[in-house]
Symmetry: C2
Subunit: 311 residues, 2 copies
């Protein structure tokens, strides 16, 4: 789960942010105005919700002299003590989902810039879809340096969404369960996934989703890693689970197909080999890390087993 911060590294994409989020500044109008007025302050240049990259970095620019603080969110303060802002969108974004440009970013800029972009993207998309109060229908205005909105009429406060999603590999006798959604690139398979619902633990969501999508009963859920996924605001929670049985009953409304893949097949797919049984998810997806984790674990299990008799 570790790696360098270089573009295309094996760090979990959209994690590894280096900004200090300076929560104490957000709610303090004096400190916030100071940060906004600072000659050091920068804002990340975006094209709508899309990243803008030059020479291997996100483009940053000084704040314009006529910029309004209420049109900006304070993302945090960087290692050089520069306050970093993002300008709220004037118009609704074209899409909330991943685009070729946003998907390419993880291979183009350092990991901590990918994380900065992800936080900005989630936050701006949330503002764009929350201009009105869900309680009373009246207009809301940004608050807390862009980390909240407040209704101008009923004063209800609203906070950015973070939607937890479980993404998981069921395992059965040395094989893992992979599925593909309708419309994915040909041959692409990945871990099953679904949103966590009110009233369930992460572990219960894992068991429910695997049963709903593939008809497989699982237990012994183990947490592996997490990833912010800014399309628009998921928190991916990657887990392993043990299946009791390998019989599949696929819900074709949810997924197009699923199959059990053995270790050799996963290794071939992760190595991008011709003739691999499936096309692996890209390294920017936490599913890639989950498959890598499973292979590494099997590797070390093999070693433990090898060492066993001589211990």
């Amino acid at each position: 789960m570790h790696g360098s911060d270089a573009p295309g590294s094996r760090l979990i994409a959209f994690g590894g942010g280096r900004l200090d989020r300076v929560d104490h500044v957000r709610s303090n109008p004096v400190l916030l105005a100071e940060a906004f007025a600072s000659a050091q302050a920068r804002r990340v240049v975006l094209d709508g919700l899309e990243p803008v990259v030059v020479d291997g970095h996100l483009v940053m620019e000084p704040l314009p002299a006529d910029g309004l603080i209420e049109h900006h969110a304070l993302l945090g303060v960087d290692e050089r003590q520069q306050p970093i802002f993002a300008e709220l969108l004037a118009d609704a974004p074209d899409t909330l989902f991943a685009t070729p440009r946003s998907r390419a970013l993880a291979d183009e800029v350092p990991g901590h810039e990918v994380a900065l972009y992800g936080a900005a993207r989630s936050l701006l998309a949330w503002h764009a879809r929350h201009r009105f109060c869900s309680v009373c229908g009246q207009r809301t205005a940004p608050a807390k340096a862009g980390w909240a909105r407040q209704c101008e009429s009923c004063r209800a406060e609203h906070f950015p969404r973070v939607d937890p999603v479980v993404i998981m590999l069921a395992e059965h006798r040395g094989r893992v369960l992979l599925g593909r959604q309708h419309g994915w690139p040909a041959g692409r398979y990945s871990a099953l996934a679904g949103f966590v619902e009110p009233g369930e633990t992460l572990e219960e969501a894992v068991v429910r989703e695997i049963r709903e999508e593939a008809g497989v009963v699982t237990r012994s859920v183990r947490y592996v890693a997490s990833q912010p996924w800014p399309f628009p605001s998921s928190l991916m929670v990657a887990c392993m689970a043990q299946a009791d049985d390998d019989a599949l009953k696929i819900d074709e409304n949810e997924i197009e197909h699923a199959f059990w893949c053995d270790e050799a097949g996963v290794r071939a797919a992760m190595a991008g080999e011709d003739g691999a049984p499936f096309l692996a998810p890209p390294p920017m997806a936490i599913a890639w890390h989950l498959l890598r984790y499973w292979l590494d674990e099997r590797g070390s299990e093999g070693q433990v087993a090898d060492r066993g008799p001589s211990a």
Copy 2:
């Protein structure tokens, strides 16, 4: 992390639900109408958002003959194949936060009924606060058997919130960091906690919150367990973290006080002893389980250490 389903058991409260959420029924108007029309169907009786308990169980009632399906959410189907509904609130709830009656429930009814109540409470509170579209300000209507709302004007879909919260013990040389919020009962201390923000992993949220609230730098975050917390819609994610140093710098806006407590102090508090250094959180809180987990782990570490020399 296991326990019986009896009232007051050590199961994680609000987890352990037994309803099949029958996702395939929610989006299928024919199946949903069948479930609603079934003589088997029941709805959970609530007083606003508060539970109603008789003889150690939540009160359930048949659906009224004049009941409207669009005023109900389908919570799921129970083990006797009874579809279980909850009626949406006509008015705004008095409070979204925990009340004496809702807090008492975990000691009054079986764990799976506590879970059913929690799911209903989160869902109904969400509906009550989302009668209008955050995108355009017009009215929304319930959809998908109460698991979504849709704008009657712009057709935007809205889904129930689940807000991930990290709750964690920093550990330093055999002591754990406990804090108390302003207004808590006298002597009560618990694990630190805070909402996960867009653009961070769970692990990064743990590190950020401990640093913000107590000025302590941590690393090596480990996931322990999760809990749905329906006041109104949190998903508590409990973790351990290792502190580099025990110097405290408390943010008094966030917490009133914090201190490092040793194993003997935690054991005394968890046993409810007079003279314990703090009043432990109640067993319905995941913080209780986290403290229990830490004690158990130290116990087994002790055992491992004891076994070490003879191995």
